[in-house]
């Protein structure tokens, strides 16, 4: 066997699978986003930007277009919650990863194992846990009531806060691991040096630890932000119908709502948002920052 054969045959399956299940289908999704809605679900081929117009405008009885903020607010909420989730994950991960990195050999390995463990537990189970906690007459409400802190509270479920809680809980391990990886490489002598130069703990954290943890934070930000933008389970189960995100908006279009071209258009918008984010990130990343 010539080496050329090996090279081509080794890569061929991956290329073929990705082309057939991803590249071509995404091309079809883009085409469908310009198609028109079929009479019985599905779509009819054609070229019209109507689905994109539908994101911004609503057609009234006379066929006039009126601006509607309904879908824009879903896109805005998605970006806002994904950003906030990423920020909260970063704020939680930094001190936790730092403390774990400070621990000695065996304890460190155990703590890292404990951080990754919940991530192995099925996502749907982890989201379900928050339904029991936040739900009407749920564990949290009962606890607060028995402590006498509240007498009667509105349901905590089906709010932006519930979604945020679920998103942070779902994706935090993806932030901790890269942050830990970069903090672990940090030379402790730098912290001592900063102290010797009369840097307070706060100054050291801000001027020494934070900049050195930056590559990990950036990698974690990508790992958290991108799946958050497309989250489906959290908005359906914790957000409910009133607080939708792009993920369940797309999902509904292919299920009960049945407007495939519109769903495809939202999916294209989501894809473009992710690409913009990844490109901005790639441009900002300095050459010495490892990109994986």
């Amino acid at each position: 066997m010539k080496p050329t054969d090996f090279r081509i045959w080794g890569l061929a399956p991956a290329w073929v699978i990705m082309a057939l299940t991803l590249v071509v289908p995404i091309g079809i999704v883009i085409l469908v986003s310009f198609a028109s809605r079929g009479a019985y679900g599905g779509f009819d081929w054609g070229f019209s930007p109507a689905s994109y117009a539908q994101i911004l405008f609503e057609e009234d009885w006379d066929g006039n277009l009126a601006f509607t903020p309904q879908y824009l607010s879903i896109i805005g909420r998605t970006l806002w919650l994904a950003g906030l989730t990423t920020a909260i994950c970063a704020a939680l991960a930094l001190p936790a990863a730092y403390t774990i990195a400070q621990a000695g050999g065996r304890a460190k390995a155990v703590l890292i194992y404990l951080v990754t463990l919940p991530f192995w537990v099925s996502m749907i189970v982890r989201v379900y846990a928050w339904i029991i906690i936040l739900g009407n007459d749920g564990v949290l409400e009962k606890t607060l009531r028995s402590l006498g802190l509240v007498t009667d509270i509105d349901s905590l479920l089906f709010t932006n806060g519930a979604m945020l809680t679920g998103l942070v809980y779902s994706y935090i391990p993806l932030m901790i691991l890269p942050v830990f990886a970069s903090i672990e490489k940090l030379d402790p002598a730098l912290i001592e040096a900063s102290h010797d130069l009369y840097g307070s703990r706060f100054t050291t954290a801000r001027r020494v630890i934070l900049p050195l943890a930056m590559p990990g934070l950036m990698a974690g930000a990508i790992l958290v932000f991108v799946p958050c933008l497309g989250a489906v389970l959290e908005p359906i189960l914790l957000g409910g119908g009133k607080a939708m995100l792009m993920g369940n908006l797309i999902q509904t279009q292919f299920g009960g709502g049945r407007n495939w071209p519109f769903g495809a258009a939202i999916a294209v918008v989501l894809m473009v948002l992710v690409m913009i984010f990844l490109m901005v990130n790639a441009l900002r990343a300095r050459p010495e920052v490892p990109h994986d």
Binding site: W120, I124, G247
Partner: protein, 263 residues
């Protein structure tokens, strides 16, 4: 003198953080032993919800479907990823090396819902009816990068000396791979396969999009139950899943640890 590397609140913060990680799962497990029909009203200890969970035929069918899809997708994805990783890391003068790497990792660059929509539309255009086939194809595709990354890491962390020595001793490429390369990278292959298996078992978004009668996976089935309301049986099912995940994660960790020690 105090240790300047220690931050006063970092330790208690981390303790609280671990509480936050584990308390929700603990709550689910705790109420699975609740005798009452209402999840959060504790009236007494009982194992009856486990009995009813284990006697639930639809649940067992969903488990079977999930295990079948995950096993086949894992084997396919790991084989494809292994071949690609060998060429990308070890191949000489490979054209489009960087591009191939991006192609292999494509599913990681997009939110899963976009991929789910893409395969849904593709299968509807092709007229593919078989639910299991649809699931296996889609799962294989998005599991490939998860299998690929640990294998690539292992290959990159390994000097090509042994392989070159084997070739100097007139071993054919196949013998070199079978007798030298594969045993050396086996922990990476195993880690990749484990990851692919877990990702497939856990998948909701794509499986739900492709869901049809006879191909309801475990997460999609549980999702259906949750929509009907919280029940202690659901807690029992969740606890069994947590148990399964723990066994899987711990086995993976121990095996990886052992093989690293030996290497």
């Amino acid at each position: 003198m105090t240790d300047v590397k220690r931050y006063p609140f970092a330790r208690s913060f981390t303790a609280l953080f671990f509480l936050y990680l584990y308390l929700p799962i603990g709550v689910v497990i705790f109420f699975s032993f609740n005798e009452n029909r209402l999840v959060s009203v504790w009236t007494g200890f009982s194992l009856k919800w486990y009995d009813s969970a284990l006697a639930n035929r639809a649940l067992m069918d969903a488990v079977k479907i999930s295990l079948t899809v995950a096993s086949i997708a894992t084997v396919l994805a790991t084989s494809v990823a292994l071949m690609a990783a060998l060429v990308i890391v070890r191949g000489r003068d490979v054209k489009f090396r960087r591009l191939s790497e991006t192609v292999v990792n494509l599913p990681l660059l997009l939110p899963e819902i976009v991929l789910a929509v893409a395969v849904l539309i593709l299968f509807s255009q092709l007229g593919l009816q078989n639910g299991m086939a649809k699931l296996i194809i889609a799962h294989t595709a998005f599991c490939i990068p998860f299998a690929f990354l640990p294998i690539r890491a292992r290959l990159q962390g390994m000097e090509p000396d042994f392989e070159e020595a084997a070739q100097d001793l007139y071993a054919t490429p196949w013998t070199t791979f079978r007798r030298v390369t594969f045993p050396l990278i086996a922990p990476g292959v195993f880690a990749g396969a484990m990851l692919a298996f877990v990702i497939s078992m856990d998948d909701f978004i794509t499986s739900n999009m492709l869901n049809s009668g006879g191909s309801t996976t475990l997460p999609v089935y549980i999702f259906g139950l949750i929509k009907q309301g919280t029940t202690p049986e659901l807690n029992a099912i969740s606890t069994l899943i947590v148990l399964g995940s723990l066994i899987l994660a711990t086995t993976a960790l121990i095996l990886t640890f052992r093989s690293e020690k030996r290497a």
